[in-house]
């Protein structure tokens, strides 16, 4: 089973390559439509500049080359997984991204687990206990958390838990000057992670709660559940063995497709909590027209999404055997 799955995932990833390339091509030209270039940003930040200075920067960044040549060079490098060099940061782009990837993965991973876990739990409870006070409370909470702007949630968490109660630090990923490895460091990072992870998962938790409830209600109304009831299976058995695994599918689909949304949405959370992640890096890259860096992040994100979608497809088959993998059929 797992071998077939691995083969399937590999197939999906291979299929993903053309799409990733398409993304690189379109993004390459799309973001170059943005007015202004890196030299203007650097010169602008300086407060003053000479024509010579601008020319030097453009030459160094390769911005004086024709667009097609820049593109050919970029693609050539990409083939050997060389994402290029960020002149703004004076570092390899792959290094820059790798530095931030950990922080992002930690924040996103924690938030996904929190939001999917609680979303499924709360949604299922709301569906099973439909039309009770508990269900109404859950659904109202879901709407409130859903409709509250992320940054507002973040700021409120900071004000209440960091400033008033003093339980958590206001921002950052670790205490500056503290040891950077070992158990103490892990505890320190976890301590810093609590507020941003909660803030980011709120929104998605609400989303999954609503989806789960809707899907669960629908599943509970379906024939096979009625059949199961008719067979005299116990309520909890029905809920857990049959309804839950069926109802989970839309939630998993949504979770899969939300990966890139989460990466984008984390811009605001990273910004509010001073979390040094990829979202913020992409945002800064756009506004400093560090286009190769932005492209690199898009590239990584596209790989991430292709992988996640393949994995979600595999999970489908685990929860609902009626769906068959059809990898390799549409090459």
């Amino acid at each position: 089973m797992w071998f077939a799955n691995a083969k399937y995932v590999l197939g999906r990833v291979l299929h993903g390559i053309p799409i990733i390339l398409a993304i690189v091509v379109v993004n390459f030209f799309l973001i170059r439509l943005a007015p202004g270039d890196a030299a203007q940003v650097l010169a602008g930040e300086s407060g003053a500049a000479t024509a010579e200075y601008m020319r030097q920067i453009r030459e160094q960044f390769g911005l004086d080359q024709p667009l097609w040549l820049q593109f050919v060079n970029y693609m050539k490098n990409l083939l050997v997984f060389d994402l290029g060099f960020s002149f703004r940061h004076n570092r390899e782009i792959s290094e820059l991204i790798m530095d931030r990837l950990g922080a992002t993965a930690l924040l996103m991973g924690t938030s996904m687990v929190l939001s999917i876990g609680f979303g499924i739990l709360l949604g299922a409870i709301a569906a099973v206990r439909d039309r009770t006070l508990l269900s109404h409370v859950i659904m109202i909470l879901a709407i409130v958390t859903y409709a509250t702007p992320l940054f507002w949630v973040g700021l409120m968490l900071i004000i209440v838990f960091a400033l008033n109660l003093g339980w958590f630090p206001t921002s950052g990923i670790a205490t500056i000057g503290a040891p950077v490895d070992g158990f103490e460091y892990a505890i320190d990072v976890a301590h810093h992670l609590v507020l941003p992870a909660i803030a980011l998962s709120f929104f998605y938790m609400a989303l999954y709660t609503r989806l789960m409830r809707a899907s669960m209600l629908e599943t509970l109304g379906q024939d096979f559940i009625k059949t199961a009831r008719a067979k005299g299976l116990s309520s909890s058995n029905i809920v857990f063995r049959h309804a839950l695994r069926n109802a989970i599918i839309p939630v998993l689909t949504m979770a899969g497709v939300q990966v890139s949304a989460m990466l984008g949405g984390s811009v605001i959370i990273e910004s509010v909590f001073g979390w040094p992640g990829l979202g913020l890096l992409a945002y800064e890259a756009l506004f400093s027209r560090d286009l190769n860096l932005l492209l690199g992040i898009f590239f990584l994100s596209s790989i991430l999404v292709v992988l996640t979608n393949a994995i979600v497809d595999v999970i489908y088959t685990l929860v609902d055997p009626r769906i068959r993998l059809n990898g390799g059929r549409h090459a």
Partner: protein, 280 residues
């Protein structure tokens, strides 16, 4: 989606449930507020009418902001834009998502592959950053903002619809229809769509909120249309003064919340009306 003859009964069905009635009442209030904004506040939302930082429920119903603008006027004028952004963006998203997802899920094969490649393409770009890029390239005007929201948001819905359609397609009754020789379109629209409608309605009603919040996020980053008063603009502007004047963020925030709540309640009522099997 809804034929004309179905509308009156549907409306009655929605109004017959307490959630639907509350939702309709709230949404009607917001719509009326939007319609009569220029009658209630003829001087417009940008006029600095009084002293800055007047607290609410005093001289001005909702107080004033840091420049002395009447927040109540902003709420009324903002209702117009927020509803417009939410409605138009959601409409585009739902149309695109349902058509692409429905066809892909039903037909499978190369249509599915092609459609999924296209959605994957749109999905791989981190949503919010994608919208920021589009707005930065095209310039921050209202149509560009709505367009950007729709472009980056339709793909997840398409995949959701596809997954649901695939799941429904595998059920016995669809196979029965096929064996009866029913046409593809007929099966898709008459048999399958009603079964996935609840998912579309729930996801769609959430989209309205997402679109409104999205606009708020862009405004907050300075990529809103500065000549138009929106709730997002007010939240973004009030955010820096959140500790000095809580009402500047909270009141437009509550406006967003109530609107979203109304749309959701209606969505729920709609769901029950359209999908009686969800009832037990």
């Amino acid at each position: 989606m809804l034929s004309n003859s179905a509308k009156p009964t549907l409306l009655r069905k929605i109004l017959s449930t307490p959630t639907g009635a509350i939702g309709m009442a709230l949404l009607t209030t917001v719509i009326l507020l939007a319609l009569f904004a220029s009658v209630l506040f003829p001087e417009g939302p940008f006029e600095m009418v009084g002293a800055p930082f007047r607290p609410p429920f005093g001289e001005y119903l909702f107080g004033t902001d840091m420049l002395g603008r009447d927040i109540a006027a902003g709420i009324a004028y903002g209702a117009r834009i927020s509803l417009l952004v939410g409605a138009v963006a959601t409409l585009v998203i739902v149309l695109l998502g349902t058509v692409v997802g429905g066809l892909a899920g039903y037909y499978g094969g190369w249509i599915d592959t092609a459609a999924m490649r296209v959605t994957e393409f749109f999905q791989t770009i981190p949503t919010f950053i994608g919208a920021i890029v589009i707005v930065a390239v095209l310039g921050p005007t209202l149509p560009n903002i709505i367009g950007a929201i729709a472009v980056v948001s339709w793909a997840p819905l398409a995949r959701l619809v596809r997954a649901e359609v695939r799941s429904v397609k595998g059920r016995e009754f669809v196979e029965a229809c096929l064996s009866l020789g029913m046409g593809d379109m007929r099966i898709l629209v008459v048999q399958i769509l009603p079964n996935v409608l609840s998912t579309i309605v729930v996801a769609g009603s959430l989209m309205v909120a997402t679109a409104i919040l999205f606009e708020a996020g862009l405004s907050f980053l300075g990529l809103g249309d500065p000549n138009i008063m929106t709730w997002g603009f007010m939240i973004g502007a009030g955010r820096s003064a959140i500790r000095t004047a809580w009402w500047m963020v909270t009141i437009p925030g509550i406006a967003v919340l109530l609107t979203v709540l109304a749309i959701n309640l209606i969505g729920d009522a709609l769901n029950e009306a359209l999908n009686p099997r969800a009832k037990r």
